[in-house]
């Protein structure tokens, strides 16, 4: 359903506020179908905010965005979809686990997507975000 909307109505994300509204619709959908997703996202947020120099903001296309010194590490949509940018090398390494997939829009890039729906997924998402955090931190130091 989510991918169908992204594929056929994705162009509407450029209408100011519409993507954020859509993401709030996803919150309602998650509450009704998989309420633990929102709890997992809350716990991920709490964990990440303990890391130095991190902050959270609303992602421009809806969802919660995690930042290191204002630079995006990754973002999670309210249906539990984690999107983040890794280097191609890192992406290839994580791909070997078979749990992450190409980003739903940017296939041939370092962007990846990962669906969070269980506690185990939450732990894995934190590991992914940790890798993203280190990548952003290192690029910031250069």
């Amino acid at each position: 359903m989510f991918l169908f909307i992204i594929k056929y109505f994705g162009f509407l994300k450029f209408v100011p506020g519409l993507a954020i509204l859509f993401d709030n619709g996803l919150k309602l959908y998650s509450l009704l179908t998989k309420p633990n997703i929102l709890d997992c996202v809350d716990e991920i947020e709490a964990t990440l905010l303990q890391w130095p120099h991190t902050s959270v903001t609303t992602h421009k296309y809806g969802g919660i965005q995690f930042n290191y010194e204002g630079k995006e590490i990754g973002h999670i949509h309210s249906n539990g979809l984690l999107d983040m940018l890794l280097s191609r090398k890192l992406k290839a390494r994580w791909m070997q686990d078979g749990r992450i997939q190409d980003h739903h829009s940017f296939k041939n890039s370092g962007w990846i997507s990962f669906y969070i729906s269980t506690i185990e997924d939450k732990e894995y998402a934190i590991q992914l975000l940790q890798a993203g955090y280190e990548k952003v931190m290192q690029s910031d130091m250069k």
Binding site: L21, N24, G25, L28, L38
Partner: protein
């Protein structure tokens, strides 16, 4: 008394109180100042007010450390209370409330999360700027004339000559077929019969709905086997959707396909009194389309039966 007005209760109570006060003020302004918007439910009443409800709730719940699940659930409850109060005090119909509820819920949730973010930042300048911007948008919207007309067209192929189809277009006997469209099944009136008092321009036509509603129509074009156009001269004002949309004109166009079959085109023109149009027009189109389909499928069945 003090324990009754807990932050949790206030989040529901004050949000709804402010919402209904603003709707009341908006209605008063339509009655005495912006009279050109009388009877119209403007964009702000469905967008700004629910967002504001969410923000107000977030203010009262700011120290409660609510999880996203709880905040979403409470916001849904808040929207549900507003819907219930609209049913009781504004006399809105059930179908209307079914239509408005997804929009309302999503916006109250959005407002609550915007509010949570605003009050976490605790930047008074930003908070006042956001609320002022909302007030400006509300005032500008309430004072701007609203008008939205649209037209929906549908067609069916009928395996019968135009002369046979025409006999069932002007008037048709009662539709006995069960409703397939979910809103009709949910209780929304559906068309069941059309009668006429003459077969000429100026003749009266009546379109009768399942709950007894009658749309009075006047034939304005009577071009045998080609075009039947009628203006709606009177329609029921009902708490259900009928109070928020006016059907202005209906039309049946018949095209002879040359092989003993006919293309029947149904057109309807309508005016919306609820905004935002992008949301309500989606529903209006869907409802009008299903009215068309129900009538045109019936005409098809009558025309094709030997």
């Amino acid at each position: 008394m003090k324990s009754f007005f807990t932050p949790k209760f206030n989040g529901f109570f004050v949000a709804n109180l402010v919402a209904f006060t603003l709707i009341g003020l908006s209605k008063l302004s339509e009655k005495y100042i912006f009279t050109y918007n009388a009877g119209v439910l403007v964009f702000s009443e469905f967008v700004i007010i629910p967002l504001l409800m969410g923000i107000i709730s977030a203010w009262f719940w700011r120290d409660s450390n609510l999880s996203s699940n709880k905040l979403t659930g409470y916001s849904c409850m808040n929207a549900f209370i507003a819907i219930l109060l609209s049913f009781i005090f504004l006399g809105e119909g059930m179908i209307c409330l079914i239509i408005v509820s997804p929009l309302l819920m999503v916006l109250v949730i959005a407002g609550a999360f915007i509010g949570k973010s605003m009050f976490n930042k605790n930047n008074q300048t930003l908070n006042i700027s956001i609320l002022s911007l909302m007030a400006v948008v509300f005032f500008a919207d309430a004072s701007t004339p609203h008008r939205y007309d649209n037209m929906v067209a549908d067609e069916v192929q009928i395996n019968a000559p135009v002369s046979q189809v025409w006999q069932h277009v002007v008037a048709f006997k009662r539709i006995e077929e069960k409703n397939k469209y979910w809103l009709f099944k949910a209780g929304m009136p559906s068309p069941v019969q059309a009668t006429v008092d003459g077969y000429h321009v100026g003749a009266g036509r009546k379109c009768i709905f399942s709950n007894g509603y009658v749309f009075d129509e006047k034939i304005v074009t009577y071009d045998v086997n080609r075009n039947l156009t009628f203006d709606i001269t009177h329609q029921p004002r009902d708490p259900e959707i009928m109070g928020h949309i006016d059907i202005l004109r209906g039309q049946f166009l018949l095209k002879d396909n040359g092989n003993n079959t006919t293309t029947l085109i149904g057109n309807s023109w309508y005016r919306l009194y609820v905004f935002p149009a992008w949301y309500y027009d989606t529903w209006a189109k869907s409802i009008t389309r299903n009215v068309h389909i129900r009538v045109m499928e019936h005409i098809k069945e009558l025309s094709e039966s030997k």
